[in-house]
């Protein structure tokens, strides 16, 4: 659609329209530059994940490996530790601050694309999730974990982590944009517990019983963990990987719908 101009003021602005990609990268760059100033948001989750990784191995390794010959509990635990470290880590709290200190208004006054504001933050989240994965993987390697699928499998492994982190972050952005309230954003952490603990975090699915087995079957994280474990321990199991991607896709569909609806509500000039 061509805009219709009915007057020409005296001056001529220097501003020029820029594309979606440039807008998105600009927002992502800002979000990433803020991460080192906001280390308390990213370092503790990784430290906690490493702590549980080490403790869980020490607690369950002998028991589980004695019960099933050839079972590598360290490799089994690594995906759990990684998801524990990255789930819920996002720039959504920074978006709340932008709402509160009116910087979001300053951005909305500019021609920056509204979707780029959200997608840029999410792009930064993907990068942060990938980076947070590395120390846990490094620890896993140090403890003897190896990837059956090699370097490509490792990249796929990190990609699954990043996409999951993004899918989960959508809930935080939805709450941030809907409420502009930091306490409300923190409450999205409540979703973390059922997702991360009502699943195969500690033992394989065939060891779960009763209601927990039923709930784990409905929990998307069960399939994501299975996909990650298959890349590490079994090789290219396409069906398992497909189920992992489908699980992420289902969560992402819901969370992205919620957060983009919240974005529209925030910027639709009402």
């Amino acid at each position: 659609m061509t805009a219709t101009r009915v007057a020409d003021p005296v001056g001529q602005t220097l501003a020029a329209p820029s594309g979606f990609l440039r807008d998105t990268l600009t927002v992502a760059g800002r979000a990433l530059r803020a991460v080192p100033r906001d280390l308390e948001a990213v370092v503790p989750p990784v430290l906690i994940a490493i702590f549980f990784f080490v403790v869980n191995i020490a607690t369950f390794e002998r028991l589980t490996e004695a019960a099933a010959g050839g079972f590598d509990y360290t490799a089994f635990q690594m995906p759990t530790a990684i998801l524990l470290g990255v789930t819920g880590v996002s720039r959504a709290p920074a978006v709340v601050l932008d709402v509160q200190n009116k910087y979001l208004d300053r951005m909305l006054l500019t021609p920056v694309r509204r979707t780029s504001i959200l997608v840029g933050h999410m792009l930064a989240d993907v990068a942060v999730a990938g980076a947070l994965t590395l120390p846990i993987v490094a620890l896993g390697f140090a403890l003897g974990v190896r990837f059956e699928t090699g370097l490509v499998g490792f990249v796929a492994y990190v990609a699954i982590v990043a996409f999951w982190a993004l899918a989960f972050a959508g809930f935080g952005y939805a709450i941030a944009l809907k409420t502009g309230n930091p306490a409300a954003v923190n409450s999205s952490f409540m979703l973390f517990f059922p997702f991360l603990f009502l699943t195969t975090s500690y033992v394989p699915r065939d060891q779960l019983t009763g209601w927990l087995d039923t709930v784990a079957g409905l929990n998307p994280v069960t399939y994501i963990l299975a996909g990650m474990r298959s890349l590490g321990q079994q090789g290219w199991e396409w069906r398992t990987l497909g189920e992992a991607l489908l699980a992420i896709g289902l969560v992402a569909t819901l969370s992205m719908w919620m957060c983009f609806a919240a974005l529209r509500g925030r910027v639709n000039q009402n």
Binding site: T2, A3, T4, R5, V6, A7, D8, P9, V10, G11, Q12, T13, L14, A15, A16, P17, S18, R22, D23, T26, R30, R33, A34, R37, D38, L97, D98, N101, K102, Y103, D105, R106, M107, L108, L109, T110, P111, V112, N268, Q269, N270
Partner: protein, 339 residues
């Protein structure tokens, strides 16, 4: 660099509005506003808190959709062509809109990128804005270490990074010290004179509107109640003001003055009576005599010409700062009412 392929006519308005209205629930914040602001004009929007100034600015800046009516800014419809409007406007809103976690330099660079400026252009613009920002090395410090005045000036610089065609300044000097205020005034004049920038300035300060604006619009309860140059508006009231600071009962004093020939209206604001008259020099003597006869002691009696505050009072029946916590309740009595 042209922004688009339009071949616009060289005439028209920088800002125009027809019947612009905005309702929040049951509250009509802006009611049927008509505006016609020429390119290169500084337009002062004067009114008390809650008059509808900021709501109007937020609509014209595309942050808020009108409930009804239409408006064009820089030639584009604020609803249908909002993106074109955003390319051409800059705004420093009433509440400072900065990210306190960034440095001043980072914020201005980011702002430049949002407007599609290249790095070299951003560098050039930042050098040009250094005088305005005037915070020296602090530009490389985090904004959360800045004083209120520094933040206000940085906010203004952020609005100017792309040299907008139309600039909205929503109470830009609120909270600034006199020196900073004078610097902002100077910058507003320079932007207007050097670049021909159209500026819509909202303010509660009569002095600011009088100093800067080519034309002033007075808004009250969401309606534009008067518009014109400061001189035209003063001529609309067209009276001298005799100010009596009394020590006695204001009601008795008013009754004593009501029947003096030439007195048009009496405004009582605490212990201060403002007597509106066509000829102040002729009236001040009888006022002194009438107060003395009524036994009212007065601490001061002075004569001055009409100010924008008087215009505002005349048009709205209330003082410009009547909603301020420490303001006196001001009542205006015309002679027709009193007699």
């Amino acid at each position: 660099m042209p922004l688009d392929n339009d071949q616009p006519p060289r005439h028209g308005l920088a800002i125009s509005a027809q019947g612009l209205s905005r309702t929040f629930d049951a509250n009509d914040a802006v009611r049927g506003l008509d505006l016609a602001i020429a390119p290169g004009e500084i337009y002062g929007f004067l009114g008390p808190n809650g008059a509808g100034k900021s709501t109007t600015v937020r609509m014209l800046c595309t942050l808020l959709a009108p409930t009804s009516g239409t408006a064009h800014v820089a030639g584009y419809d604020i609803v249908g062509d909002a993106q074109q409007v955003r390319l051409r406007i800059g705004a420093a809103l009433q509440e400072i809109s900065l990210d306190p976690r960034q440095t001043g330099t980072e914020l201005l660079r980011l702002q430049g990128r949002f407007y599609g400026l290249k790095g070299s252009v951003i560098d050039e613009r930042m050098r040009a804005l250094t005088t305005l920002v005037d915070i020296g090395d602090a530009l490389d410090r985090r904004i959360d270490t800045y004083s209120g005045g520094m933040r206000r000036r940085l906010d203004l610089a952020a609005a100017l990074i792309h040299e907008p065609e139309v600039l909205f300044l929503d109470e830009p000097t609120t909270g600034l010290d006199p020196a900073s205020r004078a610097r902002v005034w100077e910058e507003v004049r320079t932007l207007n004179e050097r670049l021909g920038m159209t500026i819509l300035l909202t303010t509660q300060y009569l002095e600011e509107a009088g100093e800067l604006a080519h034309r002033v619009g007075i808004i009250n309860e969401g309606r534009l109640v008067a518009e014109g140059t400061p001189d035209e508006l003063k001529r609309q009231v067209g009276r001298d003001i005799v100010i009596a600071e009394i020590a006695g009962d204001a009601g008795v004093a008013r009754d004593a003055l009501v029947h003096i020939a030439g007195v048009d209206s009496i405004d009582v604001d605490g212990d201060v009576l403002r007597i509106s008259t066509a000829d102040g020099a002729k009236t001040i003597g009888p006022v002194a005599i009438a107060l003395d006869t009524a036994g009212i002691e007065f601490d001061g009696l002075s004569l001055r010409s009409t100010s924008l505050d008087d215009v505002f009072l005349e048009l709205t029946g209330t003082g410009l700062h009547a909603d301020a916590p420490d303001a006196h309740v001001s009542t205006n009595t015309t002679m027709e009412d009193a007699r």
